[in-house]
Point group: C2
Chain length 414, copies 2
Amino acid sequence: MTLTDGRRPGSRVAADHVSLRRNNLSVVLRHVRDLGPRSRARIAEETGLNKATVSSLVAELVERGLLREGDADSSRALGRPGQLVELDGTGVCGVGAEINVDYLAVVALDLAGAVVHEKRVPVDVAHLGPGTTLDRLAELVQETVTAVEVSGGQLAGVTLAVPGLVQGETGELKLAPNLGWGELSVAEEMRARLGMPAYPLRVDNEANLATLAAYAELRDESLHDLVLLTGAVGVGGGVVTGGHLLRGGDGYAGEVGHMPVAPAGHACGCGRTGCWETVVGLAALLHKATDHDDPVRDPSLDVEQRLAGIVQRAEAGDARTLSALQDVGTWLGIGGAILVNILNPAALVLGGYFAVLGPWLEAPLEQAIRERVLAPDGGGCRIVRSDLGFAAAVRGGAQICLDLVFADPTIVNI
Amino acid sequence: MTLTDGRRPGSRVAADHVSLRRNNLSVVLRHVRDLGPRSRARIAEETGLNKATVSSLVAELVERGLLREGDADSSRALGRPGQLVELDGTGVCGVGAEINVDYLAVVALDLAGAVVHEKRVPVDVAHLGPGTTLDRLAELVQETVTAVEVSGGQLAGVTLAVPGLVQGETGELKLAPNLGWGELSVAEEMRARLGMPAYPLRVDNEANLATLAAYAELRDESLHDLVLLTGAVGVGGGVVTGGHLLRGGDGYAGEVGHMPVAPAGHACGCGRTGCWETVVGLAALLHKATDHDDPVRDPSLDVEQRLAGIVQRAEAGDARTLSALQDVGTWLGIGGAILVNILNPAALVLGGYFAVLGPWLEAPLEQAIRERVLAPDGGGCRIVRSDLGFAAAVRGGAQICLDLVFADPTIVNI
DNA sequence: TTAGTTTGTTGGATCAACAGACAAAGTCCG
DNA sequence: CGGACTTTGTCTGTTGATCCAACAAACTAA
């Protein structure tokens, strides 16, 4: 399974010998990634390819630095032991970079998903403005690219995560309300700052990339339909369905935070009333759980610390806190039920502050969903907490680059 | 583009010469379907395949009865005129059959989408019960299969449309509230009644199939992300995204009628309160627009006739009717905005009674969507009326069978 | 030590696409 | 009217990837 982003409908295209080979290289590489080290004979058996063909494919993948020979396989009792073939992470890296309201972040992952380099810098983006912010981000990316080169790996690409509407075809940023940015060609700006680099550089929605990261963690369990909900000041979301990220016609899909679910809700930052995030966003929780002058409401403090304060009160059994959490959990379930009715995901993944407060949100959430979903038993939807935290988007960005390699191993030079 | 139903994530699988050939046969066949009759040379140019290869592929497709040679191509001024190659509809047929609350229906479509046979029979399904209903349906299907055989075409398969939850993997019916049916293996029951036929027989959700039919009409305009909303007593829905039908983990996706959007809404047939269909279903419209004893509320009359009555009043400018339509249109837009925020479709297709009353529903619907969708201009979502009427589901069922042929032309015997 | 089992490679067969040459069938122009 | 030019579709030979069958290598079990 590729962590395919499904940007365009998969109209299969005319194929020749080269694409046949490319396809089978991809099949073998992903087979080893998903099922672990194994002998050539076993790969042949499991994929249906001929033994001779697998030998040839593995040889090419080894030459490209994507696979390597491991130990002898001692698991089968009889006969000549096989040579294990395993993923060689060190050959290639993908880079993810993120612009968010109060920080910039980068990560470089190798093919096996191991962190090669990472950095996170607190920055007041709204105050700095686009120009200076992108200057700073370009420095971080350049530093990461250099780190990848030093490590000896090839760079598969760089993906920028932005909290806003990114147009699907062009990758143009249309609107980023939380940054206070309007229309802006982030990709072009960054390419200019990076000296028109040769590697592919793409821009994507932050929540979509976080969703891909969550999917990458869960696909081992052959789970290919999920919804990610990230709780922050706003509420972000992303959908994977049938193993593909749901993008929609223009790439704006997954904007769950502004579903109109609460007609009597408060005013939303977007100018409307009744958006889901007005009842499940962090602001709504704090409003319900605390007084005006409570220190955990202080936006100048670190979000993690403020959340820790809430957790402490919940653990201590503070009635007001628990009631607020119950309330948010129920509203989470009302919106969640809408999502489950439409999308029938196998898992609802909680990220951001929803994950931190999961122990108190899950019970009312699950109950609200079961009560409101037509399919029996909530359509079999599991509630899962993501432990990726704030690194989700950058990891997803790096992984989308690596996925290009898994989809077409020939893009790696010998 | 295949009208692929995306039942399982598209993990590409090991390929050999045979699958290479199969793929290219499919590419040529779909190219002619989507872009119309053209010469071999032009197909080669447009697909990137070699001229010689296209000749060979076309020859095989002609032999299988899927393409045929047409007139000489007089469009290009210079040089030797080409021989046009066009779709040969007559070779293969797909069959769709539908069980619904008050009728059974069948249709047979040839490869070009032309109707070879169709029939619709009024039946009170809830009263008859599953056994007798399936007996009657089997008779209709057998009659249709015979008609296909008489017409000289090969039968690609039969798809049954059911208004209920159909499990994705097995095709088992889990629940059909409107029929009053519970868990039932419709496919097995029908296979037994049809004498264990050799052709593939599948079961699918009625709204999903209607959605595929709508997609088949719109994909010419390279529109690959849409939501269909069918208004009846209940509200059905289906989603195509990235050219694939959205099914979800268990195949229950698209149940938009029971999204909890109206906290203060009426009780729904499903036992909950506030489901979308309680404010946009036909019952809601009639409740708002008419008195208790109004003849258009009489469920014993034909739905089309009752709708004609509403249309007449709206055209005459009846204030109460217009106000009710305005109200339903706005509620349609509130739920529609949820769908557009999540799915970002390029089109919202109105089917069933929504299409009939489209002229009065569209304005408030469009306004409500624009007001509530985060993406500028409603994410560029068009409102489209479907003119397929009650034939949508059976057409989609037939087309899903034909699509198997477009995806793999070698399943047709020579 | 021998029989039996499994692995991975080798050489030849097969199959499908490709490249280039070429005849066929038309237009354009002097 | 005839030659130059253009385009189509077929034909022949080449290339390249997979498959098949045979086989040597490496190990276990008796």
